[in-house]
Every structure is written in C-alpha cells, then in structure tokens.
Amino acid sequence: MLREGAVLAVLAALTVVSYWSQGNKVLAPAEAPPIAAALEAEPATAAAAPASAPVAEVTAPMVDRSHQLELPDGTFVAALNGATDAAPLQQFWGSQVPWSPIVGVERNDQGVDWYRHENGSYSTTQMVWRSDLKRHAAMTRVGHQGPAVTPAIGK
C-alpha cells in the first residue's frame, strides 16, 4: 500500500518536474513593458464562449501566464524585467499588509522596473542566477515602507 502510494507520488512528481523543466526555459530579458501594457490587468479566467455556441466547441484556450504576475485580487499584470514563471504576488506580499492596487511602474537608478502601489509599497519580478539550481529562476519581490522614524546608527 505504502509502496503503491510512493510510486504514484513519484509519477506525479515526474509530471511536475517535467512540466517545470518545460516552463523554466531561460528567455532573453525583454524590454521593459510599456507602462500602459504592463498595467493592463487581465481577468483570471478566459472569456467564455458566446451562449449560442455549440457546447462541443466551447473550449477555453490555454492562456500562457508564464510572463505574467498574478495579483492577490486574482487578476494578472505583465511580469517585469523579463521574468518567467514568477510566484504569485500574494505569496510574498505579507499576510499583515492589506492589498493595495498598482498605480504605476517606476524604474530605479539600477535599471530595475518596479510596480508602485497605492500605499507606497513596491513590487517586482526578475530573473536571477541561482547557483543552487544551476539556472536562472524568477524572484517575486516586495518592498513595503518600514517605520516612519529610522533608528539611529549603531557602532
């Protein structure tokens, strides 16, 4: 019983590994997306076919989300800085900070694009070299504003 379960689990794992090895191909960094395009949030589900369409033909197209970032409200925006397969933003937004909508895209003086949020937080995605994985992989990053008063410098 246990052995059968383990075999099934390994098979499932191989499926997952196979899927991700296909999905994690390193792509050349793309140009920063135009702000309007980056901010154009898409709904989480594909548009339904017209009601009059025959049932047999209602096949939702597979939507490639690999270059998109899923937001906590279930919509998607373009992943920034050429990132592929970035983790959903909710995973790293933090549980104690209320979700705040994106209001713009800004580039820092190091050339990295960030989404600016209504509450002053920033978020971004980027590909980084992972020495442990021996490949580039996506990061999802969030910077929330900290305390208003910055502590003194310590020796």
């Binding site: 790293f92 969030v142 020796k155």
Partner: protein, 379 residues
Amino acid sequence: MLLSRSILSTTLLAGMVAAQVNPFVFYPQDPERQAVSCTSFVGRPDWNRAAEALLELEQQHFRSIGDANGFMRIFGIYHWIADEKLSTSETYDLVLRLPNASGSGPDMSTPGEIFRIAALTTPPSTNTQRGTWIMHDGFNIQGGAIVPGDYFLNTMLPRIYVGVGLPANPLWPATDGHSLFRADLLHANTGATVGENHRAGAPNPTWAGLASAPSFTTPWNYILGPFVTSPNLHVGGIDPTSTRLGLPIGVTGANFGMNGLFPDVSGSPRSDGLVLRVTDNLAPFGWCFFSASLGFKPPYFHWPMIGTLIGYGHVGDDGIDPPIPLGIALLQNGVRERSLALPGTIPPALVGTHLAFQAIVFDAVGGIGEWTNAQAVHF
C-alpha cells in the same frame, strides 16, 4: 534514497496551496504582527566594509525550520533595511552558507555557498532623506532552495547561516548606503537602552561573514530570516524588571529572541517567565497542539501519517518517550501564544537544564498538519 524522498516530499509540498510563506525571524518582537519597539540601532555587520550579515541557525537551539519531511527548504529571505538616502537604490546579495570545517562559523568560500543571489536592489524613490524598507525577496514554490542535510539520514548539518551580503560603501553612514535593523545583546557595549535581554553566558547569535579576513560574531540580532512554508514557534522570556522591549512603563511583554532561548531563572535577581508563540500565515486559523520535552529527542517521522503530517518531531513522539502535551488552541489571524510559566515561578534549581518545545499546526480546511520548528530553552 535521498532523491526519491526529495521527490516524494516535493510532490506533497507542491500539492499544498501555499498562498503565503512565513519569515522565520529571531528577534525580540514579531516584526510581522507587533509594533517593533525593541530595535537598538540600525547597523552593518562590519561598519561600512563589505560583509555578510548572517544569522546562525544552530541545531542546539532550533530544529526543523522549514522542514520539508526531513530536509530544509527555504523560499527566500525577509529583512528590514534602513537607507540613508532613499533616492539612490541600494544593492545587496542573498546568501545561504554551510558551516566551516573547523566547526565554528560560516564557510566563506564559494563552495560554502548553498546559494548566492547577487546584486538585488531596493525600490525606486524620489525621497532624498533617510528611510526604511521591509524587503520580501521570494522564490516560487517549485524553486525552493534545498539545504544539504537530512534528519532521516542523520546528516543534518550542525548549523547553517542565512543572511544578506552588503557591499563596501564608504558613503555610509554619512550621506548614503544602507544598514539593517538590529537588537543588541546586553553585553554589546553599544549603549543600547532597548534590545535583547538574556541571561549571562549567552553566545552571540549572528556573524559578520568576511571573504578576505576571519569572520567574527556580532552581539545583536537582525530583523532577517528565511521564508519557509512550515509554521514558526518561538519561546519568549518575560522579565518584568526590564524595559528592553521599549514598551511603556507598566507594560510587560515577552522577548521572543534571546530571552526565550536563554532565560534567566537564577533568582539573583531575575526569575523570568516563559511563553510560547506559534505563528503561521498558511493556516492562520488552524488548530495548534503545543508540546514539550526535556531537551531535544531523536527526530521522529510519523510514517503512517505521511501526506497528512509534514515534518519531523523533536520532542519525543515515538510512542516510547512521549512528549509532554501543553494544550490545544486555535490560531487567530496566524498567531497564538500560550503562557508556560509566570515570572518568579521557575525554580533556580533548573539552572543548567534544557527544555525543548514544538507544536503541530493542523489546517482543518486542507486536512494537513505540519510541525513547527522546535526550539530549545537553555536555563
């Protein structure tokens, strides 16, 4: 064997809906849920020279942080930054290191890096003043970093080091550059009026990792730690005579950093109380089962519960030497505290003994239970 177990565990974890992660931070207050009033200063590990700010995760103190059924997986790093000039973005590395061969300190060689992610930057700003950022730098769940070592194979490393690398910056602190939030130990000799509050003899918990000179320990903790998917358990020490938490007079809180790991129960004059605190963003309203033992017990995996209970127990749950149950409670918005001992109630005769605490958080919705990390208390 290790590979197959890794695949099996990965499969189980991949099946979880991990909409959140937990930062494992060792600091007097919970930076996610409490107003942090205990920060002594902001500082760098080696002034404005290049160095890594490394938190030492030592098996004598903590076990099963980020336990993915025997081995440790982390999903990024959380830390708080102070930037002397927000309008110029700062650069830092994320690092995870092996211990060095001599058994003390991090291995600062390139092979000693479990991973290094170089040259991450802080967000943009038009503000030319000082300011702060709370940085969440995360991997996707499939991209979790696996730390070498395994409880199943009894190959767990005695300690690992997690932190951020700061480049040299001669402008810091005068006009620019960045540093980290820290809570100084009592023996730091920095003039800090708030910070850590531990018994005498407590070791330094962090390191300044240097590439071209010997690394050295630093007498403070940072708001810094790995992102994990397992729940966190911290032990807090309560010293009613202390104002090290920076709380208003008359308000006594628990110090979940060094005071919980090294409480003073000597009775001369301190006799600290103890409290447990479990936090979990993945099952924020889950059931929490607290337990304890006299020191860590051999790691134990519930094979009959594979798929429903993740992680290893370290408080003697093998049926021969059972753990001491400490009660069941529901998490509320990701946190639950349980009082263990009021100040003045732990007898000084316990000085020199070691306790261990661990809990299971059970998500009734998902039907998955998960061990928290285990933490020691060294009286």
